[in-house]
Symmetry: C2
Subunit: 549 residues, 2 copies
């Protein structure tokens, strides 16, 4: 590797916070600590790696420290050294302990969910730089960001910066979907410098090797590509092994046919050879490779719907049943599995996807792309899909693959990546709240308290994107004093509902009013006197409030 092509990456703490490491069993578990003006602080989940340390990592040539290589792992179980094999044997790994601290849960929950196959820990032995994380419905909902160059645009340097940038804003995993030149080199740069698990779709690189002709693909070519990527440390791989020959014609009469690249490659291969997919017929051999590295299957939904019209159709659910069979096979090899899901689904058909996936695939973690809840808003598909993503995550989906504003239109640039990640952190967090995930609401409450008390900087710093929050505030009230002012530009200084609320609270506290009974009693007893007191004390309610500070 040379750094020639990598220009610059974004480093340093996020506004108003710094990296705080919890030391646990010799491991340093990272959090983003937001220091509040009240003297309190809030620690939030942190995916950004050493790039946001006070003294950030910048040596891309050297790569990140291989932290996991220093940890003591259990011996193999029946020849398998996978998180699944260890969990089933009742063994707790360093990764599980790390994750328990990160998620704020008991380590036994981590182990048991992995053992049941309801959660996965994507952690290739050859990616020791990654900070362990878990994907499963009992844990915080995760977000994946896709990056990768293509034949039309983008360079290695841009993709590495996008990886750092995406994890800065909260991407829990990265998928490198490169399809153009320099696939191997791009991936090597990303692997050695990524603090989060990396996923790929090996068929893309295999297709490059046969110059874009899907019918020229062979099992051997594919297998060698998988091993090449496995050696580099790829943590999970999308495998479209459920696109069977007999399912392909089911997509023929759809409005949008087959929209998955991997799915259409395998469909073309199956039709051209009139044989069953080599991914399906060689699936057990694939399992043996995955088991050697502890790579996690992400069983691809090659027949996912690409439009509202095609949602929940026969092709989609036929493939899902096959993914269920493959899940059982993979797990019998001690290999971890998650299942990919749609796509484009109207709201009333979303829950059925989760129900069927859980029923057919032994509750393996569901990993969905959106889904988009309508097709009519290109340029806003981060939003059309955030609606579907929040709902499907509430129903039990464990990880959401982001969608950027450029979906269907072009490749995302740096700004699009950030908007995509933040939008999906919103969807994931909304689902965490709806699922009563422990501690999820802490951040909402801390931010809302700051808002109510006009602690503007605390409000900004607790936000998913402090920089944009500050910028928007400053467009209307740019002066620094305004950030400590007891008003905002919506009502202006003269009248403020938050201010009146504070007066109401003071009134209630002065009179010890906690329940409706207290209130009724007071109203009956001493209405007039209290009224006079309020008028006497309440003049500040409507007088101009001067900015402080």
């Amino acid at each position: 590797m040379t750094t020639d092509s990598v220009t610059s990456i974004t480093t340093g703490p996020i506004r108003g916070s710094h990296k705080h490491l919890h030391e646990v069993d010799g491991m340093s578990v990272p959090f983003r600590r937001v220091e509040l003006s009240t003297g309190d602080h809030l620690d939030v989940y942190d995916t950004s790696g050493p790039y946001t340390a006070d003294v950030p990592h910048t040596d891309l040539d050297a790569g990140l420290p291989a932290i996991r290589d220093t940890w003591e792992h259990p011996d193999p179980v029946d020849g398998a050294s996978t998180q699944l094999a260890w969990a089933r044997a009742g063994l707790v790994t360093p990764e599980m302990r790390y994750i328990a601290t990160r998620e704020g849960v008991d380590v036994e929950l981590v182990r048991s969910e992995v053992a049941r196959g309801r959660a996965v820990i994507p952690a290739n032995h050859r990616h020791p730089e990654s900070e362990p994380m878990i994907i499963g419905k009992a844990f915080a909902v995760k977000v994946n960001a896709n990056i990768g160059n293509s034949a039309v645009t983008s360079s290695v340097a841009e993709e590495v910066e996008k990886m750092v940038w995406a994890t800065r804003w909260g991407a829990d995993t990265i998928m490198d979907l490169s399809t153009g030149d320099d696939i191997h080199l791009t991936r090597e740069w990303i692997m050695r410098n990524s603090p989060v698990p990396v996923g790929t779709v090996p068929i893309y690189q295999a297709l490059e090797k046969c110059k874009g002709d899907p019918t020229a693909l062979t099992w051997e070519m594919y297998r060698d590509t998988v091993i090449e990527q496995a050696e580099q440390g790829v943590d999970y791989m999308t495998v479209h092994a459920g696109v069977l020959l007999r399912y392909v014609p089911l997509a023929a009469h759809r409005v949008t046919g087959i929209v998955s690249r991997g799915g259409s490659i395998m469909a073309a291969w199956c039709l051209a050879h009139h044989q069953e997919s080599f991914l399906y017929t060689h699936f057990s051999e694939l399992c043996e490779i995955f088991r050697r590295y502890d790579i996690t299957f992400s069983l691809g939904d090659g027949l996912r719907p690409g439009s509202i019209a095609d949602a929940n159709d026969e092709a989609q659910f036929a493939e899902l049943r096959t993914l269920g069979e493959l899940t059982t096979i993979a797990k019998s090899h001690g290999v971890q599995v998650m299942i990919e899901g749609p796509g484009h689904i109207p709201m009333h058909k979303i829950v059925e996807n989760v129900r069927l996936e859980e029923e057919l695939c032994e509750e393996a973690p569901f990993y969905t792309l959106g889904p988009l809840a309508t097709d009519i808003a290109p340029a806003y598909d981060h939003i059309t899909s955030a609606i579907g993503a929040a709902m499907i995550a509430q129903a039990g989906t464990a990880m959401l693959c982001y969608v950027t504003p450029k979906e269907h239109l072009g490749l995302p640039d740096r700004d699009d990546v950030k908007v995509g990640v933040i939008t999906y952190k919103i969807a994931a967090h909304a689902a965490d709240l709806a699922k009563n995930h422990p501690r999820a609401q802490e951040r909402d409450d801390a931010l809302s308290r700051a808002r109510f008390e006009f602690r503007w900087n605390d409000q900004f710093n607790l936000a998913l994107d402090p920089d944009t929050a500050v910028a928007y505030h400053d467009q209307t009230l740019p002066a620094e004093p305004a950030k400590t002012a007891h008003f905002c530009s919506m009502c202006g200084p003269k009248f403020c509902s938050m201010r009146i609320s504070a007066d109401v609270r003071a009134f209630a506290e002065d009179n010890d009013l906690r329940t409706q009974a207290d209130i009724d009693a007071m109203l009956a007893r001493e209405m007039d006197r209290k009224s006079e007191e309020f008028v006497a004390s309440g003049k500040n309610v409507y007088l101009p409030i001067e900015p402080v500070g």
Copy 2:
């Protein structure tokens, strides 16, 4: 009025479409007609008024034509000339016929829903310029955009332009929430030039009249303000008559107290005077004024939650019960009613809001602000709230009040207004799909077909925001030929899943494959021969496809 202060407004057709008028019973019902490259067209709902005509309206001094003054209305029923009174008497108004055409439904559905109070037609007799529309769960979900100057920023000219701009992108109603100087003048400009119903919160102007001192408010002052606005033609008014003295202390121990401006004004008044709210005690007099003009009540939720922590609490639902009582009173006067709703609600508590509102308020149309599904993303609250808005609309909410990216941070500018409106059109449309609203899916299907067939310009023109879709596309593939190219920047020209899908379709059609049984039969019968055919015919699948055009 003088035009001195109004600089310019945005006029002319939206990209790729033109205004098409359906002539019905002497009325011209507007649609936006999108002409497709296939020779077909799609007519979609149009809120933009004469500003998007081929020869657009530009004379703001003259105002829009008073179309409704030329229509024949039924005689008053028991002294009431409201849409509700007429509907109950079995009479069909011109507004109802206009709406039936606009929505593509039977006029009897319109009449019966209004008669039941499950839908409202906000149409002050003194706002003859407005194009009638309906708000009710049996119809397309509507979107409101708030505009209005404040003490800190904005001018009359900006607000008129925002109104035209918001309706261009699909706002079904506008609320003028001005609080600073020139309230009367700003509103006059907006009323005379607005093609959509206009709502206000009269207490804001009343408060200006007593220099921002809520305790100095009187019923007479408020009443005179309502009459002033009624004469100008305001179509619906938010009245916070459910904030009762005994509910105010219930908000004292909330995380964010009272966040509604109207609610906090009335709370301050009640506490200062230790009397019941004059809006509540004089509610019947208010009904008589509303009935005279056919103004629709929008009963405000002054105690709505301002944070996830406060969602669905005692204060919120106590007020909702009172709004139910007031609904019954208003309807006994022949006055139309809708009910305002939250606010900030986590996803799992959303449906309960609709259920209770329908139970307590005789199924009056619900009109909600979002709700935001999390508090942690200031600068992205259009998205946090679009999630909640789509879900609450699916559950039966009839109109959504938009939220812009500036929510909690500042006043929206022109770009924010557009993003807010488009985001809420997405939420509304997603709900229409989920509710199986007739014709909603036509647009998704038309756009998806265009996408699948690489009719790029048709795809753009069918989008909610064609301009941004084109701009995003052109960032990666700016050349005009690329708009007719059979590929996109995601996969590049060499490989394309859509292209393979087209081949799959051709294969299925050649072999007459329609069901799984057809497929199985073919597979059993003639696998090899078909395979050869596909290879022979399918070479174009993977060869470079040149841009056409």
